[in-house]
């Protein structure tokens, strides 16, 4: 049983929310909160030691914010998956977080089922993506096209999915259009997120070889 448990860490400055999330995670049955932090600095120190499966990360934190926190942690623990927890679905912040190395995002006010299912999805290699995030990614790589280096190295299929999502189609509608399952779509989206923060990976390599920028 212990092996199938999804280990979770929570970074959240507000006590009510932190405690609530902790309860919801712990009562899900297959999840276990193994650490919770009130600020980014502590998280950067502790999480590489704990190596959880998933980190629920608030964006607005005292000290370094959630996005910078992910940017620092991702190279240290590349296997850890980061899920942005946010009050509002503000595209700018979510996109910045994804570019910094986050793998998924969720609204804090989501009901407990949605929250836990999202954690499970992410752990299984899936990621949610709204049409606006999709548009942002499309626009970003359109801008970056002239420079090979800036390209996110997306496959044609990934680009196709992105464009359909960007038009406003749901996962199911998109899946129907290109004749694949809903689960596969989520896997593609996960890969898109991974490729999105390709720079972070470069940073990771640089860090590994002691050539930090």
């Amino acid at each position: 049983m212990a092996q199938s448990l999804i280990t979770v860490c929570i970074v959240e400055d507000r006590k009510d929310i932190r405690e609530s999330l902790k309860i919801l995670v712990n009562e899900a049955g297959d999840c276990a909160c193994i650490g919770d932090f009130t600020n980014g600095e502590d998280a950067v120190k502790e999480i590489p030691e704990l190596q959880p499966d998933v980190v629920l990360m608030d964006i607005d934190l005292p000290g370094i914010n959630g996005i910078d926190c992910i940017r620092q942690l991702k190279p240290l623990c590349p296997r850890v998956q980061f899920m942005i927890c946010t009050v509002y679905d503000e595209d700018e912040k979510i996109f910045d977080a994804l570019a910094a190395g986050a793998n998924s995002y969720i609204l804090k006010r989501s009901d407990s089922d949605t929250l836990i299912n999202s954690i499970r999805d992410l752990h299984n290699g899936g990621s949610p993506m709204s049409s606006d995030i999709a548009r942002k990614i499309v626009r970003q790589f359109q801008k970056a096209l002239p420079s090979e280096k800036e390209d996110y190295h997306l496959t044609d299929r990934e680009k196709e999915i992105l464009e359909l999502l960007a038009k406003g189609l749901t996962y199911q509608q998109t899946a129907d259009k290109i004749f694949i399952s809903g689960k596969t779509i989520k896997k593609h989206v996960y890969n898109i997120y991974e490729k999105l923060h390709v720079n972070s990976r470069t940073e990771a390599v640089n860090k590994y070889f002691g050539r930090e920028m």
Binding site: R14, D16, I17, S20, L21, I23, L24, E27, D60, V87, Y88, D89, D91, K108, R109, D111, S112, L115, S130, S131, D132, K167, G168, L169, T170, Q173
Partner: protein, 643 residues
Amino acid sequence: MLKGLFILSALFYSSTTGTAQTALSRDSLNYFISAAKKDNTGVQQLYRVSAAYLQINSDSALYFSTQAMQLAEQISYDSGYFLGLKHKADALLALGQIDKVYELGENALTYADKLNKPNYKGRAYFTMAIARQYQYKILLAIDLYTKALPYFEEAKAKPNLARVYQNIANLFYEQKAFDKGMQYANKAYALNAALKDTVKMLECRGLTGNLLYGSKKFDAANEVYTDILRSKTYKLLNPATQLIFAINMGSLHYDLEKYDSALHWFLQATALKNKFQLDFFTRQLFYKTTSTYIKLGSIAKAGQLLHADGNFNSEEDDRTDFYETWSEYYTATGNYAKANEWLIKLREYQDSLITDETAASFLQMDTIMAQSEKQRLLNQQELSIQSLQKKAIEKNKTIALLSIGAIALLTMGFIFYLFFKKKEQLKNKSIALLNKENEFIAVKSSLEGQLQERSRISKEIHDELGSSLTSISLLTEVLKKRIDTNINPEINKISDTSADMVDKMNEIIWALNTSNDTVNSLVAYIRKFTNNFLQVANIELEFLETDIPENKALEGTVRRNIYLTVKEAVNNIVKHSGAKKVAVNVSAAHGLHIDITDDGKGIDKGNMNSFGNGLKNMKKRMEDIGGKFSIENNNGTIIKLSY
């Protein structure tokens, strides 16, 4: 440069200082005196001896004239006494004892008072006047001459009268009261003409020339001088007078910038000077000649002269010309440093002149200056009267000219008026612009203040209320886990409501946030809303956008009203239409157009009440912001918004 030149021209009637002085012993003098008879002839003899000695030994001349006068007084030979005035004065002047000359005149006046003979009184005053003239006390001299005049008139002593007129004319010349001087010169000339004294007439003509020259009537002066030089009597004038005419002629040409002629006359003067061994005006003539060479560009010649002359001649009493000429020479050679050196020397010299004595004479000069300034004003007035007379003669011409001038002036005035009016207008305009700008700045700053306030409020709502509501939402989720939800459906409501509130608040924040005041932002928000909303309702969405500008501004209220209208429309579709597919078409090519098409059952016109309020609301929202709203049935519903 030739300051003091002309006054001397009037004075040289008195003898020049002697050349070789041969001393006579006291014994030989006494012998002459004792030998003289103690009667009228003795006195006359002594005067003749005095006159003879004047050129040879002025001391002896003085001695003899003094003795003669004493003798005349003793024997009451009155005319003999007054005859002595000229002889003794000549001797004293030759010796430079000018104060004694005045004393001599005073004593003579006392003597004359007893006799009541006008001619003697006149002579006494004349002698005093000569003394003052030699002391350069011009006003006092004129006063004394004027006192002498009535006595000479009374005595009908015409030659004396003529001499006095001539001397007064000369003094007025010195005072630069040229017109007054001219009056006296004319009187003197008339008297001399009556006396048929051709030499004196010529002298008076010379004086007239000088006066014209002084009043800058150069051409008239030139004419007079030329006349004098051409006259037969010119050669009868004594060489000194001729020398002075030559110098004046040269100076006149120098002032007229006819340097060739000037040089001719200066050289002529030099020749005269050398021929008759005249040793006055030597320095002035030398400097004047040198300066003329410089003006003619014969700088080498000028240099030669100056260097040959050597350093300052100690006999010279006025060094001004000396320094000035050297400075002029160095300026001409381009050696400005040297020229400046000489100028500095000149200034130092002039400063050194200011002693008590000179200060006193400055005071006198001030009086003279004041008087001459008055005269100058009088002259000016006279000139203006003359010009007025001329104007009267040329009245017709002037009227024509004046009218042309008047028209020109009017035109110019009008142009100026237009110019200044325009300027004034521009000024007013710029002031108005400035005021407007200030108003604009005020409005802008108040707007900025509003915007800042909006941002502050939205940030606080965003940060504080947002997370508080989120807490409620999450806490109810926890509560739901702990309590059986079926028993407590209200808990679900709390959860839903708080989640809903966060959404609504998000909308308010979006509307408040000024950074969202663009068309682009509105379209993105509508897209996200429709996408999320229809996804939940499982209705397919086709969202098309064309010509959306990147940063076109859109006011907050407009943005909010359009968004709420779209929200209402989409809400209605989900609630009432039963549609499977919705197409949202946004175009911002001209204004902003949003078409929302569904494939539902369309609007039942007969059953408008159920959502009539919603429709009215949408219409009102669009009209409030000056936009349009329409709805029609066409295999479903088409709602058209435009702004």
